[in-house]
Symmetry: C2
Subunit: 297 residues, 2 copies
Amino acid sequence: MSLPRIGVFDSGVGGLTVLKAIAEQLSAHYIYFGDTARLPYGTKSAGTVARYAIAASRFLESQNIDLLVIACNTATALALPAIEDAARVPVIGVVEPGASMAAEISRNSAAIVIATDATVSSHAYRDALKRHGLASLEKACPLFVPLVEEGWIEHPVTEQVARIYLDEAMAQASPGADVLVLACTHYPLIAPLLRRILPPSIQIVDSAESTARVVKQTLGGITEAASRELRAASSESASSRMTGGADRRATPMVAAPSLSEHRTFRFYVTDSTEKFKRLATRFLGRQVDRVEHVDLE
Amino acid sequence: MSLPRIGVFDSGVGGLTVLKAIAEQLSAHYIYFGDTARLPYGTKSAGTVARYAIAASRFLESQNIDLLVIACNTATALALPAIEDAARVPVIGVVEPGASMAAEISRNSAAIVIATDATVSSHAYRDALKRHGLASLEKACPLFVPLVEEGWIEHPVTEQVARIYLDEAMAQASPGADVLVLACTHYPLIAPLLRRILPPSIQIVDSAESTARVVKQTLGGITEAASRELRAASSESASSRMTGGADRRATPMVAAPSLSEHRTFRFYVTDSTEKFKRLATRFLGRQVDRVEHVDLE
């Protein structure tokens, strides 16, 4: 048995915050697919998004993944059932984990959701939160993504924009709202800035972290088994060399000090790899040198 | 003979500033095509952009246009020769008219060009300005498009962002730079704000207006002829009713007080018509109610 192979799909770089959150918790081979030639999905119809997302899922399944994470709010909101129908592996979207975490944390059963225009228009979070018994106010914050992509993570302009958006949201929300759901995969990068602005009574739910928790739960069994096997292999490797096998899922074994070293990453995008590399390094907090181009059209 | 039919193509709404500038100068039937399902072009490769732009050109040619305006900086920069090769009508891009106007105005032969990341990376303006003997500094201003689309046209945040971008640009540019080229079709909306911030020694060249001037020159003959015919038709219509003809280019004749009334507009987009309608009304400064969806894929 080998480490699990986790496919992570987004229309662009945003899903890298989800990848990062999962990788901080789980040893695995990660295969990331960013459909950068066709982003943003937010302006596209549900049918188009489903078609693109299913093509991406097929590509990731061709990489022998054990689990597929739809790290894209628009694709989750508009096409999760269609993707699940088409996929042969378990599929985890980003909406339900965030809503579920918000429900656990909120004492007053009232949340504020900040997201892109497209996610707000879909009302996917409002509906998911409602199923958990929470009222919500959804607020579109369309400038946050370009501000994050400009690299203005800690910047007076971003703070000014955040104050405007959050003031508007809090003025419209239920006075008891005590949770702010970051319902866009770009937003975790400005979570510290948002934390400073928010009143202490409001807690932040990061849907990247929430999704990572669900992925960990879902893969718990596989990881436990892999963990036992790795420990055994590591103690063996002290006395004997590993020989390469024909199994393409074979884990490159090293005498690592801990399980946390057992991660590999592959990145595929449908358009220019340069911008992706630059942003990916910022999003992941680690150098991303190798990004491969794939044409799905 | 009838009014000219002008096709205007952009990846989204930005080209509407070009359409507006042309329509302020020319009586015509305008057919606008926004490839909103596949925007932004800026992240796409030259080959992909050329393919999309040629498909759009074919659609517009199927509407019997006499002239095609590529009101998209990315498509002009990356694919104008390919579009010209494929088209059967004259094609006018937005880069050369802006560069030519800048060359006319600049006394010191030095310009600052502000644009999106993609247009800057293409260096299309730098090269065009160089052909006119001008040195230039190209500055990417990626937050301007989302700020304009957010509707923050006259807003403290936009002013703060503009000051940051323009200060950086002026610090890097030749000290004699006396022209600022708005090399993105969204930027004319914030031209008044930019004008307030800029030193009086720097003049603004709006590439939408520059393009309109070239379109007018190119269509001069046709318009003159149409103008004479319209005047004749208008005087006839006082005594006799017009009868509908089979010619699909037939102009709906009304006893209009001036030639400036003779404009019709049709809008086609490849994705959701709602966001387009909302933005189009802001960009054109007139209500846009009817937008048709086209699928080119």
